[in-house]
Symmetry: C2
Subunit: 247 residues, 2 copies
């Protein structure tokens, strides 16, 4: 395969080599350098070759990785910058393009889309995302909580299926509880809720529960939460949102 | 590869064999029967083998395909039922699980997630989906227009990045125009809008425009439209929504 770009920004999906796209796999196998968060580098290490350079850093070092990847690409290396899920959803594509545009760096870039957590979690829960849906991150590190709350209210009122990213961490517990309260004002306590931990990875766990019984303490940063809309139901142990077909 | 399920519901992504997941590719290569809309069967025909049975029907025959796939799986065949994009997003996963649950059919099912149009279109536009976003279908065949409008208003008011599926057809032109009006009440006329036709397929076309200048007549059923949030901007010919990092 001829690599005709300088920098590939790649979503590796949930984190196993089966859910990765064929193109992502091939490009990761052929670039000179792979840059990513250390846990994600681990996920794909099996497909790398000895002569490839791997550059990883820890949590919250996103800008360091972006600068490294863009710098190496500008210096003539073929580089892959990886995110888990889809790099375009709260991932590395945004900061990479921001840096490139701000500094007017002349490199060719391709984003290779990946399976984001909403779709990966939905697949193991059944078919909860079959109608209009929102994706909201509950992390208030980069976004004020008031703005997140406004979006949660809008999603609850307008009956969107709602997928929560970064729902809860050891230091940040209030947001998920608040979210539950907001949704209980607009949706039945029996609304199905799916919780998937480490989707697609070793130790994947899933639970189907309801809005009122959502076990807050079981939710952490590796968990994706999907709240159904007013038509969502559970049958044969699957969460199903009807699209409207006559069955 | 050992196929340990009876029915695989597979999202084939935008419609080329590079964007398909490695697992989807392998399963499609090994099942006895592949069921799908005829255009999507064409997309993957190259990977099929002579002894595999292909069953395709035309538009709006979704339930016919679901019944066929579930029936063959119940009869002991290994079956793949395919959707474009992700089968769990306005795709075949919903009606399949509904039919299985309603008729209490004892088959083992796995959904293999695919890249949905929102993520595929975002990848070619830059990084528009880097913050909270909604996915809304403008098709009023199965959903009343009033309900869709309510969701559009909520998305516009709460500053969600908004991806429109099925935005406009030869018979259905009003919805996109109305959507533009709704968004213009809440967002700047200069808000970046990305339009991608036939993403990932032959004849892919993309255009970066603004909310007020959105060329309605260029949008059809094969088009995905992404409307930025209030922070989205265009630089170096890419649509970028900042996540909040200091660049």
């Amino acid at each position: 395969m001829q690599l005709n770009k300088d920098l590939y920004i790649i979503g590796i999906g949930p984190g196993n080599l089966a859910d990765i796209s064929r193109k992502a796999y091939q490009v990761l196998n052929e670039v000179d350098v792979i840059v990513g968060y250390k846990k994600y580098i681990e996920c794909i290490k099996e497909l790398t070759r000895e002569k490839q350079q791997l550059y990883s850093t820890g949590m919250r070092k996103e800008m360091e990785r972006v600068e490294k990847a863009v710098g190496l690409a500008a210096a003539g290396k073929k580089v892959a910058l990886i995110s888990s899920g889809d790099a375009g959803v709260y991932g590395m594509a945004g900061p990479a393009f921001e840096l490139i545009a701000k500094n007017d760096i002349a490199i060719e870039v391709e984003v290779i889309a990946g399976i984001t957590a909403a779709n990966a979690a939905a697949a193991v829960l059944g078919a909860p995302l079959m109608h209009d849906y929102v994706v909201i991150s509950l992390s208030d590190i980069l976004t004020p909580w008031d703005q997140i709350k406004k979006r949660l209210k809008a999603a609850a009122e307008a009956d969107f299926i709602t997928t929560l990213y970064n729902p809860r961490s050891s230091r940040r517990k209030m947001q998920l509880q608040e979210t539950q309260k907001i949704f209980l004002k607009h949706r039945s306590p029996d609304t199905p809720v799916g919780i998937v931990k480490s989707v697609g990875r070793d130790g994947e766990e899933l639970m189907i529960t309801t809005l009122s019984e959502l076990p807050l303490e079981k939710v952490d940063m590796l968990t994706t939460v999907i709240i159904g809309n007013s038509n969502t139901y559970v049958a044969a142990n699957k969460i199903i949102t009807p699209r409207g077909y006559k069955i």
